[in-house]
């Protein structure tokens, strides 16, 4: 019991501490690829502390939804993170919810952000919420099918079991093609869900291109800090999911401290690698028009479906 509690605390701290780093890392990679020096990778930490200390300005038209949303968003995103194995394959809270619960926990944040976007009453927020609605709607089927393909290959929908079995290579990967297709689909889903290029641009403040940034336009001070932190966390949750489901190399499968240390180091290397990859992908592509995003997410859906078909065909 105490062990489990310690692990939960450790995982919370690791997630909270790593999230801003990933944001900083992606920014750095993008800057280097644009031949700029870029801000230090720890800049997001400084930004967060600055925001926490600033006086927040709250729109006088808003209701309690607006001020409660950052806390709800922060809590639900972090809760989703606690369901995913991070450095140990048998993460203690895994029993509280499987991969479907994870998807829906992230939806909690999306829902309340959409409400908060509407609450201030400006057209920007409404526009962001409206666009987020369509992107989230189109992402969901692809996400569910790719999850299904993964669950099939591992014979479980519990994240801990999936990661644990994959880590010990129990009856998995006899034919990698379904896995690879689900992987590709999930990467596209992750990009869309976390608001990265080519679906959304986290660096923009131009009303024609904003989605996530438009929803949170009215936030400032500590509220903005929590929202930004949660956005980083959501990105990290997806990176962790992809890293540990498809490549659980090095993850601790027992409670020994040496294994935990290796697991933590391997985790940081893996998610950093994925963050660099996302930075490169963001630099390679231009942002798509909103109504072209359909094609991209449709492709993700088809990929996941093919993964499923391949699984059944190969298994006979």
């Amino acid at each position: 019991m105490l062990d489990a509690f310690l692990l939960i605390v450790m995982q919370t701290v690791v997630l909270l501490a790593t999230a801003p780093l990933m944001v900083g890392l992606i920014r750095k990679v993008k800057a280097r690829l644009q031949c700029r020096r870029g801000a230090s990778v720890v800049q997001p930490y400084a930004d967060l502390i600055k925001l926490f200390r600033k006086q927040p300005v709250v729109s006088s038209t808003t209701s309690w939804i607006f001020t409660a949303t950052p806390y709800i968003l922060f809590a639900s995103t972090l809760a989703a993170g606690l369901l995913v194995p991070v450095f140990i394959s048998r993460t203690p809270l895994s029993f509280a919810g499987n991969i479907i619960a994870l998807v829906y926990l992230l939806a909690v944040g999306t829902f309340f952000l959409m409400l908060a976007g509407l609450d201030a009453g400006s057209a920007f927020g409404g526009m962001g919420s409206s666009r987020e609605a369509i992107v989230a709607s189109l992402t969901e089927p692809a996400m569910m099918l790719s999850i299904f393909a993964i669950a099939l290959t591992a014979g479980s929908t519990n994240l801990s079991t999936i990661v644990h079995k994959t880590a010990l290579l129990e009856g998995i990967m006899t034919d990698p093609s379904p896995h690879l297709m689900a992987f590709a689909a999930l990467v596209i889903v992750a990009i869309a869900e976390t608001g990265r290029v080519p679906v959304d641009n986290p660096a923009t403040h131009l009303e024609l291109t904003m989605i996530h940034e438009a929803m949170i336009l009215e936030y400032s001070g500590r509220y903005l800090a929590l929202v930004e932190w949660a956005a980083g966390l959501k990105l990290l949750v997806f990176l962790t999911l992809i890293a540990n489901v498809f490549a659980p190399w090095g993850i601790a499968t027992s409670m020994e401290s040496a294994a935990l240390g290796v697991g933590l180091a391997a985790y940081l290397v893996k998610v950093s690698g994925l963050a660099v990859l996302i930075g490169i992908l963001e630099s390679m592509f231009a942002k798509l028009r909103l109504f072209r995003v359909t094609d991209l997410l449709g492709a993700a859906f088809i990929l996941a479906l093919l993964g499923l078909v391949f699984f059944y065909v190969l298994r006979g």
Binding site: A96, Y104, A107, M114, S122, A123, G126, M144, T294
Partner: protein, 675 residues
């Protein structure tokens, strides 16, 4: 238990008669209409719970002088579950009605409305209790007629009359198919008693079983509102007074789900070819998706909620369909899981849909309009209604740890278990159904972000909304009751699952209680904890704890700096409600992406200034969603019927001699057949 039943019946009968007997005294009418209903529904709640836990079904009957008809009732776990569902929603609606009827004063006859309300609740309760086909059809018809009268209670409006007529015709077409279903069973057993339906003397041939399956699907499907038989639902449900809408959408359509389970799993013995389940699954998926899609385009709050009933019936049917498919292949545990998921969603939907309709009623009460574009800023003016509506919204869009999420999770889980089915086609179809359910869920999220966001947040969009006042206390209690039920159903699956297991076990032959409840009841699991698990109470604790952590972080890093209130940034102009995003604008991207389904027609007329083509004097924007089903399915049928009727008019000459000739010819023909 029979004593409770007498209280229940007595309460409703008192509620039917008393309001009509008293002299004109509005307040007395309200009390005599609602207090007996409150007593009866409370008895119904207890009766339902007792029936769910008792080991033996309770039966009772009164003979009648009409051949084949006995007033037989039977309280088995399935019936008890539906009595519970009806009574919970009925109780909340009765309390709500105390406040709501005062507002109704003068526009409709309160004694009549109260009497019909009690009769409607009574007929629904008897539908699920009936143990005789004849009796069932009688109370079913009674339920349909009483709900028709309730729908047209504001009959001075043309739209209401149209909705009522549409509903009346559709429900009777459905009833014809139900009668045919029962006649098939009657033919095999020679009696209308449900027991002979279950165990006929000679078993039904397969072909008759298939016909019975299809007839029941059309007959009860019409009442349930499955696509494409749903068209009456978005007209009729919103037209009724709101507490009636809550019952129609939350509970009445569930009587059809009850009847489907009764016919398929009980009368037909739970033995089906695979395609039966597949048909139900496809209908479920299509209803779920189209229901939510049409809901998105509705800006009339009550119509939006009515379309969501189509969606949720679809989700329930997904669970039933998956259960039937598993049953075909002898996977009994999974069949039980599918059915359990469907029933869980049934009671959940009854709770949150009734809650949302009551909420819509409060908005109507406060603003005198159902048009969402005229709401706005109501959360500040109606905090109680707003909070209850928010709970209903997060439940219907299945956000963890609410009740909607728990049941949808179970539906997902039963669809995920499809890899055990020894048939590749079905193995691929069930995951596709899961993907459609995921899309449905995401669109529902968008729909309620719209419904809540546009109605309750930002600035009021009309004078009515600006002057809105909170609903009276009885209305708030009614809503709060259902909100509590929603929360309890979400956090307490360890109590709900064993009860539902008792409903399902007789039909599948296995009890899955111990399998589904893992970790001392703290978590739900399908198959085992290693395969999947979900713990709503732990998730709730976790979310609460982490929100506190968020507060702690704020305190640690910056302290709670006093916040400053200032107007929203409007690019230098003062913000007015006209600048806000509208409901129409909000769904525009969705309308565009799915334009092949909506087939929207957009009309934009612009009148320019004479001096310049760049400045518009006025613009007129119109947009319509093509009512595909009405245009391509119903209109041709209606045109055919009308044409046929026109032809048949020839024989109606109005001459008495001619009619006598008809009778004579008929007699001759009949005698010829008799010989």
């Amino acid at each position: 238990m029979l004593n409770l039943l007498w209280i229940l019946l007595g309460g409703y009968v008192a509620g039917i008669l008393l309001p009509l007997c008293l002299p004109r005294q509005p307040n007395a009418h309200i009390i005599t209409a609602t207090v007996p209903a409150i007593a009866a529904t409370s008895a119904g709640v207890v009766l339902g719970l007792l029936g769910l836990t008792s080991s033996e079904p309770v039966t009772g009957s009164l003979a009648s002088t009409i051949p084949l008809l006995t007033f037989a009732i039977r309280i088995d776990p399935l019936a008890a579950f539906f009595v519970l569902t009806i009574s919970v929603a009925g109780l909340a609606a009765s309390i709500y009605a105390i406040g709501y009827l005062q507002h109704f004063d003068g526009r409709a006859s309160i004694p009549m409305l109260g009497s019909l309300f009690n009769g409607f609740l009574l007929s629904m309760t008897l539908v699920v209790l009936a143990d005789n086909g004849f009796f069932f059809l009688m109370v079913w018809e009674l339920m349909s007629l009483l709900s028709y009268f309730l729908v047209v209670s504001e009959h001075e409006k043309a739209a209401v009359r149209y909705a009522g007529l549409f509903y009346l015709i559709m429900t009777h077409v459905g009833t014809v198919f139900i009668i045919l279903t029962f006649l098939i069973f009657f033919q095999a057993g020679g009696s209308f008693a449900f027991d002979t339906f279950r165990h006929p003397e000679q078993p039904l041939p397969e072909s008759m079983k298939t016909i019975a399956f299809l007839m029941a699907l059309v007959g009860f499907g019409t009442k349930a509102g499955i696509v494409p038989l749903h068209v009456w639902l978005p007209y009729a449900h919103p037209a009724a007074p709101s507490h009636i809408s809550a019952l129609m959408s939350g509970v009445m359509i569930k009587t059809a789900i009850y009847a489907l389970i009764r016919v398929y799993f009980d009368f037909l013995g739970g033995q089906f070819p695979w395609w039966w389940g597949f048909v139900i699954l496809v209908i479920g998926a299509v209803s779920a998706l189209l229901g939510v899609m049409y809901a998105l385009m509705e800006h009339d709050l009550k119509s939006l909620l009515a379309y969501h009933s189509v969606e949720n019936i679809g989700i329930i049917l997904l669970g039933i369909g998956a259960g039937m498919i598993f049953q075909t292949y002898g996977l009994k545990e999974f069949a039980a899981l599918g059915l359990l998921a469907a029933l869980y969603h049934t009671i959940n939907h009854a709770a949150f849909k009734a809650l949302l309709f009551l909420g819509a009623g409060s908005l109507l009460y406060a603003t005198h309009t159902r048009n969402m574009e005229e709401y706005g800023g109501l959360l500040r003016r109606m905090p109680w209604t707003g909070a209850c509506f928010l709970i209903g919204s997060v439940s219907i869009v299945a956000l963890p740890p609410t009740n909607g999420f728990v049941s949808e999770w179970l539906v997902f889980q039963s669809l995920f278990l499809s890899f055990h089915i020894p048939d590749t086609f079905l193995k691929l179809m069930l995951p596709l159904a899961a993907a459609i359910l995921a899309l449905t869920g995401a669109l529902a999220l968008a729909c309620f972000a719209k419904a809540f966001g546009i109605s309750f947040l930002a600035l009021p969009r009309s004078t009515h909304a600006r002057h809105a006042r909170e609903a009276p206390i009885p209305m708030r209690i009614g809503m709060a009751l259902l909100a509590t039920v929603c929360v309890a159903l979400g956090l307490g699956p360890m109590v709900v699952v064993p009860l539902l297991d008792r409903v399902v076990a007789p039909f599948t032959g296995v009890s899955i209680e111990n399998q589904v409840l893992a970790l001392d009841g703290w978590a739900l699991a399908t198959v085992d904890v290693e395969f999947s698990s979900l713990s709503p109470p732990v998730l709730a604790l976790l979310l609460g704890g982490l929100a506190v952590l968020g507060l702690g972080i704020v305190a640690a890093f910056g302290g709670f700096v006093k916040r400053r209130y200032y107007k929203t940034w409007g690019c230098g102009i003062n913000l007015t409600p006209r600048m806000e995003y509208t409901a129409t604008g909000f769904v525009q991207p969705i309308k565009r992406v799915f334009s092949s389904i909506y087939q929207p027609t957009v009309k934009l007329e612009t009148e320019f200034l004479q001096e310049s083509q760049y400045f518009a004097k006025r613009r007129r924007f119109e947009f319509h969603v093509e009512p595909v089903f009405q245009k391509y399915l119903y209109d041709p049928v209606l045109a055919f019927v009308a044409a046929l009727a026109g032809r048949l008019r020839v024989i109606q000459a109005g001459s008495l001699h001619l009619y006598l000739t008809y009778i004579f010819v008929t007699l001759i023909v009949l005698l010829l057949f008799a010989v």
